[in-house]
């Protein structure tokens, strides 16, 4: 079998690439060397660990769904329409990417908290968000949403509108065009955005601890459990950290979009 020959990379480029790879991988190796393998099973199957893992998976999945429901329309509006202030809006939507998560948590508290902007309205409707699993999902969505919006908007811009124009010419209304043309064409970008959102939600810590609190089985996700266990049992914390890494890697591997060219 012959191999296609491509334009080679400059040789020096491999050095920083390798350094970068080592920089990312070495800390993972360091974690693995710290794991107390003899007790690994017991450490990660304790009641609190299982609760934390399940809660993390549940809330991250819910967050991903919420990100899709809110983020897909946002990305479409940003990519397919023009209106005054659009660039400002885009920057603001991306704000959670640079905002320290703890600040995000505070912002959510000032919005949905008992004394927050919407606090009174929520109280009237007898909805209590703080200290609930809902609060965890909101905190995770706040930090994860930009990832979905950014990757989907990029995919939409790359895909362009030519196919949509053709579809409209064939008599397809906007909804049909969206369902049968736009969405399938950007599916890889959407999947990538979903994976990123899920991964970000899985690792979310700061906004959650600030906004949602920490209670086993309700709001104490895996990262919070790791942080807590570190106080008393570093071995358990390391074991859980490895578990978190493995879960993230598995999710990313499973959902990795097929890179076939259209």
């Amino acid at each position: 079998m012959g191999r296609t020959r491509t334009v080679g990379l400059p040789g020096w480029l491999y050095v920083p690439a390798l350094v970068g790879a080592v920089f990312v991988l070495l800390p993972l190796v360091a974690i693995i060397t710290k794991v107390d393998w003899a007790n690994f099973g017991t450490l990660i199957t304790s009641e609190s660990s299982k609760d934390a893992l399940l809660l993390s998976l549940r809330t991250s999945a819910a967050t991903t769904v919420l990100c899709v429901l809110l983020g897909v329309p946002m990305a479409l509006v940003l990519a397919r329409t023009t209106f005054p202030g659009q660039n400002v809006l885009r920057s603001l939507v991306l704000l959670p990417l640079v905002l320290p998560p703890v600040v995000g948590g505070l912002a959510l508290l000032y919005t949905f908290g008992r004394k927050g902007l919407l606090g009174h309205a929520l109280e009237v409707m007898d909805i209590r968000i703080a200290f609930s699993t809902m609060a965890v999902v909101l905190a995770q969505t706040f930090v994860a949403l930009p990832f979905l919006v950014v990757s989907l908007e990029g995919a939409l811009r790359t895909a362009g509108q030519r196919y949509e124009v053709v579809a409209a010419g064939l008599g397809a209304g906007p909804t049909t065009v969206f369902r049968r043309v736009t969405l399938p064409l950007v599916l890889p970008g959407l999947l990538a955005g979903m994976v990123l959102s899920f991964a970000r939600a899985l690792g979310e810590f700061g906004a959650t601890i600030t906004f949602a609190g920490s209670l086993q089985g309700v709001t104490r996700t895996l990262p919070l459990e790791i942080y807590l266990q570190r106080e008393v049992d570093p071995d358990a914390a390391v074991a859980l950290a490895l578990l978190l890494v493995v879960v993230a890697v598995v999710v990313i591997a499973l959902a990795r979009p097929d890179r076939r060219e259209p």
Partner: protein
């Protein structure tokens, strides 16, 4: 009257309008940037002109004076461009069934219709394939079937064969000829064969204005615009009829044969002659023929066993031997000479 299309787009300096009878196919000709695609975009609803009116079968699709502007999907106007743009995620069959399904036709029926149209364009064997694996010609066939399956009241074709290999063009043109026979359609093209074989009528655009509009054969045999002349492969010079000869706009005098309807002195006329009617000399000949021009050769282009010499305005077809004897290369000066009996003079409408 089936289609009435008129638009003014200041940004692109386009101001043109024409009409098409039901079942008629019009070839829209013109230089790049003359405004052809702009008019198609207005008809398809992809571009909103400052002022415009598109009426199809009595239904206004666009009427800026009365605030009518139907969205593209409600116009019944299908646009086929040089890029087939088949939906990459759908099979060929589903691509063609897309139009019917968008109209609410059940899946089964839509697929049957798709099969029908695929067989019409000779691409039924491709039904199960994904567009990624098709050749350019195959993809364009499928795109034609897809456009037809949508049952458009008006079909717009924007250089549908421009990006195809020369070998597949004749067969596809034949397919289009069958398909366009009884359809109301507008085809933008640069190819004289497209105009001759596919269109009943030719509309020529120059700088956003219509400069010629008429029966295809008439326009191509008696072109009145430079573009149509070049398309028809003839030389064309404009001027004023004196009753005896043509006073050319760029100066000079041309003697030719006035054609019916006979021009009156003072009428605007065009004089046309075929490139192979031109005799080429290295220096201006003495005496007859009278119609001689000093020209600078810009380009030499092989044309079968002849060479076509191009100057800024004129073309002449000469033998390879003549080129060698006269030592003609781009940049050299030569004399073109045409017998008066080879020149047709038409009155401009």
């Amino acid at each position: 009257m089936s289609l009435e299309l008129g638009a003014r787009v200041a940004e692109r300096d386009v101001d043109a309008s024409f009409e098409i009878n039901t079942g008629q196919t019009v070839a829209l000709l013109g230089e790049n940037g003359a405004g052809k695609s702009t008019l198609l975009a207005v008809a398809a609803g992809l571009l909103r002109p400052e002022r415009g009116r598109v009426v199809l079968d009595g239904q206004p699709l666009l009427d800026t004076d009365n605030g009518v502007d139907l969205p593209p999907h409600r116009r019944g106007v299908a646009l086929l461009s040089q890029d087939p743009l088949l939906f990459p995620h759908l099979t060929v069959l589903d691509n063609v069934a897309f139009g019917p399904r968008s109209r609410g036709v059940p899946r089964r029926d839509a697929q049957q219709q798709a099969e029908h149209w695929l067989s019409q364009v000779g691409a039924l064997d491709l039904a199960g394939r994904k567009p990624g694996g098709l050749s350019g010609g195959q993809a364009q066939r499928v795109a034609i079937a897809r456009a037809l399956a949508a049952d458009p009241r008006l079909l717009l074709l924007d250089e549908p064969m421009a990006s195809l290999d020369v070998e597949v063009t004749p067969a596809l043109r034949q397919t289009l000829r069958g398909v366009l026979a009884d359809r109301t359609a507008v085809i933008v093209t640069h190819d004289v064969l497209d105009a001759l074989l596919l269109a009943d009528r030719v509309v020529v655009l120059e700088n956003g204005r219509i400069v010629e509009d008429g029966d295809t054969r008439v326009v191509l045999t008696r072109p009145r615009s430079r573009f149509a002349a070049r398309l028809a492969g003839v030389n064309l010079l404009a001027g004023t009829w004196t009753g005896d000869h043509v006073e050319l706009d760029d100066g000079g005098v041309l003697f030719g044969m006035a054609a019916e309807p006979l021009p009156q002195p003072g009428d605007r006329v065009v004089a046309t002659f075929k490139p192979h009617a031109v005799a080429v000399y290295r220096d201006l000949p003495q005496g007859s023929p009278r119609n001689s021009f000093g020209v600078r050769i810009d380009e030499l282009e092989p044309l079968g066993d002849l060479i076509r010499l191009r100057t800024e305005q004129l073309s002449a077809d000469v033998t390879l031997q003549a080129v060698a004897d006269l030592d003609l290369t781009p940049g050299t000066w030569a004399a073109f000479s045409v017998k008066a009996t080879e020149i047709d003079v038409y009155r401009l409408a």
